[in-house]
Symmetry: C2
Amino acid sequence: MELSCKSEYALLALLELADHYSSNEPLQIRQIAAEQNIPDRYLEQLLATLRRSGLIRSQRGAKGGYVLAREPWKITLSEIVSSIEGTDTHSSEYREAKSLEGMVIREVWQEAGQAAIAVLQKYTLQDLMEKRNSRQQLDLMYYI
Amino acid sequence: MELSCKSEYALLALLELADHYSSNEPLQIRQIAAEQNIPDRYLEQLLATLRRSGLIRSQRGAKGGYVLAREPWKITLSEIVSSIEGTDTHSSEYREAKSLEGMVIREVWQEAGQAAIAVLQKYTLQDLMEKRNSRQQLDLMYYI
DNA sequence: ATAAAATACGGTGGAGAACCGGGATATACT
DNA sequence: AGTATATCCCGGTTCTCCACCGTATTTTAT
C-alpha cells in the first residue's frame, strides 16, 4: 500500500549493489548515496538494518563498503521490505483483537497483506534490473 | 499491510450500522462507540470522513444519527479503507519518481497494492457479517 | 422553547519518519 | 608504526500523522 521513503531508498541502494555485484568490489555509502540521490547519513542507518537482516555484508576500514550477501536473483523484494519495514515493535498483528468482529476484520486484512507480499516475493533484485534495462532499451528506441 | 486503528474503527462502526440496517433507524455515535469500545470523539471524525465519501448518511438533531447510504452487500471493504486511508495529501503515488529505477520500483509496488485492493474489493460488509455470524455459531457449538 | 443530536474548530501528547553530528572502531596502504 | 579511509554506534532534531479530548455551533424532533 504505502511505499515509504525508507523502503524505496533501500531498494535503490540494493539495486546499486546488484549492479556492481559482478565486480566483487565493495561499494561505499557515499557512492550509493551520490548515485541515487539519497542522504548519506540516513542511508547508513538503512544499510545497518539490511546488514543485520543478512541481506548485505559490510567491510570496515579503508577500501571497505558493502556487498550483497547473496546473488541478485536470490534476494526477493519481500525480504528487503520486511527487513526495513518490519522493525516496528507493536504492529497491528501483535495488538490482538478483543471482539469477534475484530478477529474477522484482521483475517481479511491478513489475506490482503498476504496477497501483496506474494507479489513482492515473486520479484528479485535481478528481475528489477532486467525490467529497468529493457525499459532503457525502449527509451533509446523512441529517441532514434 | 498495516491495519491502522483508523480503518479498524471505521470497519467496526460500519459493521454496527450494517447490523441495524433493516431497522431503518439511525444509530448515534455514542451507541456505536459504546458497543465497539471506540473513543466517541475520534469516531466522530471517522464518520464525518465516511459521510463525505458517500458511504453513510447522517441525520442531525434529536433522534438523529447515521445510517448506511447503501445496502450492506453493495459496500466493499476497499471503498471503506480507501475512504479512510486515502485522505493523506502527499502519498507515495503523488511524489513522482525521478529515476528509471524509481519508476520500476513504483510499478512493482503498485502491482502489490492492487493485489491487496483486489482482496478488499471482493468482500462486502454483508460478507463480514456472515463470516462473523458463522463464527459465532461455531463458538456456540464448542460451548455445548 | 428545549433537549438531543451532528458538525466545526482547535489543541495535545506520543510515535515514527527523515534527517544531521560526533566520536569510536576496524582496515588498507605507506 | 602511522595515517587515511571507511563502517559502526551513540546521540539529537524537526516534521508529520495518529489518536484523542474540549468547546462551541447548528440542526431537528418533540
